[in-house]
C-alpha cells in the first residue's frame, strides 16, 4: 500500500432529504450534506467537527452504507462502493466498522456479550466456530476484558465498559477503518480519556484509520491528525490539526474555536489582550 493511497474517500457526497406532507406532496428539501469531499489515509485519524445538525452524522451513515447518497461517491481503496457486488459489499461492511454514541442502546439488552460479538462474525459469514471463538476472545482482551465477561449481559456493565465492548464488536471483524460517531460524547470526562487512549493504542497496534465525528473540539484535537470542519452540510475547512488550531482560515472555524471553554478563563483573556491577538488565537489556549 503506497503512502498516499487513501483507504476511504468521500467524493462530492451529497444527501438531500425530501420532506413530504401527509398526502405525499413534496413540501421542501433539506440539503443535509452538500458536496462533501475528503479522504482518510491508512493509519490516520480524520476528525469531522461541526455543530449539531451540520450533517456530520449523515456523512458517517453514508460512509457506513446505512443510507445511500443522493449523489457523489464513497471510494474504498480506489473503488467506488456503488459498483460493489453483493460479496464485495459485505466485505466492505466488515472492513469499515462503526462505534456508536449511546453505549446504553448500542448493545442488545437480551443478548450476552459473547453472543453479540459472535453474531457480528456470523453475519460476516465466518463459518468456522473455532476461528470465531479465537477472534472474539482476542477482541475482548484487546479492550481490557477477559473471557469470563463474554457470558454477561450488557446491563452488568457501566457506560464506559459498554463502549469498550462496542469497540470490541468493531474490532472482531478485523477492520481497516472505524467510524466513531460521537463515540465518547455520552461518557464523562475521565472515561472519555480512557476510551480515547484505548482507541489510540489500538490504532498504533493495528494501523487502523479512524473517522472521528464529534462536536467536541477538545476531543477531536486530542485524537485527530487532520480535521475537517462542517457547517450547514458543507465542508468549510480542512487542515492538519495543529495548523487548524493555530491559523483557522474560515470564519466559522474561528467561531467554533472560540467556543471552546478555557481551563483558566482569566489567564486566557489576559493573554489575548496583552498580545492584541486575533479572535482565533484564543482557541489555542
Amino acid at each position: 500500500m503506497t503512502e498516499n493511497a487513501p483507504v476511504l474517500e468521500a467524493r462530492e457526497l451529497t444527501k438531500t432529504f425530501t420532506l413530504r406532507n401527509a398526502i405525499g406532496f413534496k413540501t421542501s428539501e433539506v440539503h443535509a450534506v452538500d458536496g462533501v469531499s475528503f479522504s482518510i489515509q491508512p493509519g490516520e485519524t480524520y476528525g469531522l467537527v461541526g455543530e449539531s445538525g451540520c450533517g456530520k452524522s449523515t456523512t458517517g451513515r453514508m460512509l457506513q452504507a446505512l443510507i445511500e447518497p443522493t449523489s457523489g461517491d464513497i471510494v474504498f481503496h480506489g473503488q467506488p462502493i456503488s459498483e460493489f457486488s453483493r460479496a464485495e459489499q459485505q466485505s466492505y461492511r466488515s472492513k469499515v466498522q462503526m462505534i456508536f454514541q449511546d453505549p446504553n442502546s448500542s448493545l442488545n439488552p437480551r443478548k450476552r456479550i459473547g453472543s453479540i460479538l459472535n453474531e457480528t462474525l456470523v453475519i460476516q459469514g465466518i463459518r468456522d466456530k473455532a476461528e470465531r471463538r479465537k477472534r472474539i476472545v482476542s477482541a475482548i482482551e484487546e479492550v481490557g476484558f477477559g473471557e469470563e465477561h463474554l457470558v454477561r449481559y450488557p446491563h452488568e456493565f457501566s457506560g464506559g465498559q459498554r463502549q469498550r465492548i462496542g469497540i470490541a464488536r468493531a474490532l472482531v471483524t478485523h477492520p481497516e477503518v472505524i467510524l466513531c460517531d460521537e463515540a465518547v460524547s455520552a461518557l464523562d470526562v475521565s472515561i472519555q480519556a480512557q476510551i480515547l487512549n484505548l482507541l489510540n493504542r489500538i490504532q498504533e497496534e493495528h494501523g487502523l484509520s479512524y473517522l472521528f465525528i464529534s462536536h467536541d473540539l477538545s476531543v477531536v484535537r486530542y485524537v485527530a491528525d487532520r480535521i475537517g470542519v462542517m457547517c450547514k452540510g458543507k465542508l468549510v475547512e480542512e487542515a492538519p490539526v495543529d495548523e487548524l488550531f493555530a491559523h483557522p482560515k474560515d470564519e466559522y472555524t474561528k467561531k467554533l474555536l472560540d467556543s471552546i471553554p478555557h481551563a483558566h478563563p482569566r489567564a486566557a483573556a489576559a493573554a489575548a489582550t496583552a498580545s492584541g491577538a486575533t479572535a482565533g488565537e484564543g482557541g489555542t489556549r
Binding site: R93, M98, S106, G114, E119, T120, I123, K134, I136, L150
Partner: protein, 332 residues
C-alpha cells in the same frame, strides 16, 4: 493480531453452551466471599433466579390469579375423571333438581348432571381460550414485527387491522361464525381473527421503540438480513408485552366464546360449554337458578383469575406502565 492463549475454551460456542451456572463461581467458597469485590458480582448472578422467584411470590396479583387459574385447570383436568356421569347422560325423571348428595350441583331440564356439564364445559372454554391466545399471539407477533420494521408493510397491515378493530368483537365473531358454520374449531378461528389485531398493535408499538435503539442500526451496518434483525434481535425484546396481551386475550376469548354460545352462534349443542349451559338455563332461571349461577360463577372466576395474573405479569415485566395505569384509571 492473534493473541496467544485461550484457544481451549470450556465454551466452544458462545451462543449455545453458556449458561448461568457455569459462571460466577470464581469467588472463593465460604463466608468471606461477600467481602471480595470480584465475587460480589458472582453472588448477584447466582441469586438472579432466586430474585425472580421472590419477585413473583411477593406479587399478590400473580399469586392470587395464579392460584385461581391452577385450581380451575386442575378441576378441569381431573374433575371429569372423578365424576361418574357423562355430560350428555339423560335422566329425565331427575330433571331440574337442586343440589343433593346424588347430583352435587343439581340437574338441568333434561336431567343431565350440572357439575359434569360445567366441568366438561370448562374443557371446551379453556381450550378455546388457550388456542385463541396462542394463535392470535403468534400471528399478531408476525404481523406486528413486520409492520414495525417495514414501512410499506406497516401502511397495509395496520389499515387491515384497523378495519377489523372497527367492528365490535362480538359482532365480528358472529358474522364469522355465520360464514364458517357452528363448530368448536370454527369458534377458535373466528376469535383468532377477532383478537389478532390487538396483539399486532401491541407488538408493533413495542417493536417500534426497539427499532430506534442503536443496536439495530449497528446490525444493519454489519449487513445483517432483515429477518435476522427482526427475529433474532428485536423479537426477544418484545416478548413481555406480548405475553401480557396474550393473557388478556385468553380471558377475553373465554367471555366471547360464552357470549357466542349463549347467542347460539358458538359451540353447537348438546356439547356443553359455559355459554350453552347459560343458554339452557335462561328460560328456567326461576325454576332452577343453579343452571345460571354455576356456569356464570365459573366464567367470572376464571376470567378474574386470568386477568389478575395478567395484571401481575404486567407489573412484573413493566413496573412503570402498571403504576401509571393504576394511578390514572383505577384507584382514584
Amino acid at each position: 493480531m492473534t493473541k496467544p492463549a485461550h484457544t481451549t475454551p470450556q465454551h466452544p460456542e458462545p451462543e449455545a453452551g453458556l449458561t448461568r451456572e457455569t459462571t460466577g463461581t470464581s469467588g472463593p467458597a465460604g463466608g468471606s466471599s461477600a467481602a471480595q469485590p470480584g465475587s460480589t458480582v458472582g453472588l448477584e448472578r447466582l441469586s438472579m433466579r432466586q430474585l425472580v422467584f421472590r419477585r413473583v411470590t411477593s406479587n399478590g396479583l400473580i399469586m392470587t390469579g395464579g392460584i385461581i387459574v391452577v385450581i380451575i385447570v386442575l378441576l378441569t383436568t381431573f374433575g371429569p375423571m372423578v365424576i361418574s356421569r357423562g355430560p350428555l347422560e339423560l335422566n329425565i325423571q331427575d330433571r331440574l333438581q337442586g343440589p343433593s348428595g346424588d347430583y352435587l350441583l343439581g340437574t338441568d331440564n333434561y336431567g343431565r348432571d350440572l357439575l359434569s356439564r360445567v366441568l366438561h364445559g370448562a374443557r371446551v372454554s379453556l381450550f378455546v381460550g388457550f388456542a385463541v391466545a396462542i394463535l392470535s399471539t403468534v400471528i399478531g407477533y408476525i404481523i406486528g414485527m413486520y409492520s414495525a420494521y417495514f414501512r410499506w408493510a406497516d401502511a397495509i397491515l395496520m389499515r387491515i387491522c384497523d378495519g377489523f378493530m372497527a367492528f365490535p368483537a362480538i359482532l365480528l365473531a358472529i358474522a364469522l361464525m355465520a360464514v364458517l358454520g357452528a363448530k368448536t374449531s370454527n369458534v377458535v378461528i373466528a376469535l383468532t381473527v377477532v383478537f389478532t389485531p390487538y396483539v399486532a398493535r401491541v407488538v408493533r408499538s413495542s417493536a417500534l421503540v426497539v427499532k430506534e435503539q442503536t443496536f439495530v442500526e449497528a446490525l444493519r451496518a454489519q449487513g445483517a438480513s432483515s429477518n435476522r434483525i427482526i427475529w433474532l434481535n428485536m423479537a426477544p425484546n418484545v416478548v413481555s408485552p406480548a405475553i401480557i396481551q396474550a393473557t388478556f386475550i385468553f380471558a377475553d376469548s373465554i367471555i366471547t366464546e360464552a357470549a357466542l354460545s349463549f347467542l347460539g352462534a358458538g359451540v353447537p349443542p348438546p356439547a356443553p360449554s359455559w355459554g350453552n349451559i347459560l343458554l339452557d338455563g335462561k328460560t328456567l332461571i326461576f325454576n332452577n337458578p343453579w343452571m345460571t349461577i354455576v356456569p356464570g360463577a365459573a366464567i367470572i372466576l376464571t376470567v378474574l383469575g386470568i386477568n389478575l395474573l395478567g395484571d401481575g405479569l404486567r407489573d412484573l415485566f413493566d413496573p412503570h406502565t402498571g403504576k401509571a395505569v393504576r394511578k390514572g384509571g383505577g384507584r382514584k
